[in-house]
Symmetry: C2
Subunit: 217 residues, 2 copies
């Protein structure tokens, strides 16, 4: 009877994890602000036990910091952290390309173009757009066939989105981003690691610059 799709039950801890993380990325809670376990459990309608598991994961992944018997604090955003994530992202997105290109076939490239096309269709909505920009990068990471690398890229792009959320809400140069994606796809089509890597690095550099500008304010 396995054809009856076995939808797994959403665990409370997973639900809490997603909700809190979303709230942080979208700056619904300020960086540096305190999270109260009892309040959060009430808001989410769950007890403290599964909530604690969600918070544990968020801490391991670098979103919050727990200070025993004092409180749980959303990490602050500073130049050092942005730079750290930036460096990691560059190195590991380059790795994605290096792993991906030898695996490429025409069918895969078509899929990549399709994903990017969906992106362009909604570029009028900055908030949705950013998720699809990340989706593009995540899709490439997924195709690299390295699960750990995928999870790492996920975490890094999520942090980039957090750092640059102000710029994204204000509206960003979406056409440029779309053009940069096109350059990446061209590199992939040519199966040229050097060309593609340059396109990716340039794309990340530009996102980084945008973030730094929005942080100055």
């Amino acid at each position: 009877m396995t054809f009856l799709k076995a939808e797994q039950p959403q665990l409370f801890k997973d639900h809490a994890y997603k909700e809190i993380k979303k709230g942080i990325i979208q700056h619904k809670v300020e960086p540096g602000s305190m999270l109260n376990e009892r309040s959060l459990s009430e808001i989410l309608g769950i007890s403290r036990t599964p909530l604690k598991l969600a918070l544990q994961q968020l801490e391991v992944e670098g979103w919050i910091q727990s200070v025993p018997r004092k409180g749980i604090f959303v990490k602050t955003i500073n130049r050092q952290d942005v730079d750290d994530v930036f460096q990691l992202r560059k190195a590991n997105e380059v790795l994605v390309i290096e792993l991906l290109i030898p695996l490429l076939d025409n069918e895969t490239i078509e899929k990549i173009e399709k994903v990017d096309k969906q992106l362009s269709d909604i570029k009028k909505e900055p908030l949705k757009f950013v998720y699809h920009d990340s989706s593009f990068h995540l899709f490439l990471a997924e195709l690299s066939q390295n699960l750990r690398l995928y999870q790492l890229i996920q975490n890094l792009t999520d942090h980039f989105n957090w750092y640059g959320f102000a710029a994204l809400k204000a509206g960003i140069s979406l056409d440029e981003v779309y053009y940069e994606h096109k350059l990446i796809i061209e590199g992939l089509k040519a199966r040229n690691i050097h060309q593609t890597t340059n396109a990716v690095l340039n794309h990340i550099d530009n996102t980084y610059s945008t973030i730094l500008e929005s942080l100055k304010e």
Copy 2:
């Protein structure tokens, strides 16, 4: 009164995390075997609540997999995982070198040599040796001034130690490893990124080969 060193209380979850992780790396629990929360809490002398937090962290970091209402299982070791970690380690240890070299001064290089010297003094004991091999890599990562990168390298070297534990217990070509470290240090002294990077990649390649051989058995 801050001169009275404020030793922070070891939280139960941290203690449990370290103990369980050590047990996994040293193959005191077999890959694939099941961990029982109630048994573990008895063995560690703590309740299930802090234990769950430790398990949550171990799962996020890739050591175990929790299947709701079925059990918690130590991850199995397979070629794909080893390769994934191998690829990530290469890319990110190269990043360490790229970040580190512009930061080097003579004092720092002396420290690095000192750490490596301590390593050579105990090369007769394989089990201790491996921790100091990792310490060497971790020390370089720490000097790169990127906290996230440091934590990533920590996780990756720990997994390498887990994968290759059989080979390490059997006794490994310690002289070779020591020689390879010397090459890395020479590269650092020359402030030569290309030279150092090659030495690091060669070192990781050799460790990888050793792991693969021990996995065949």
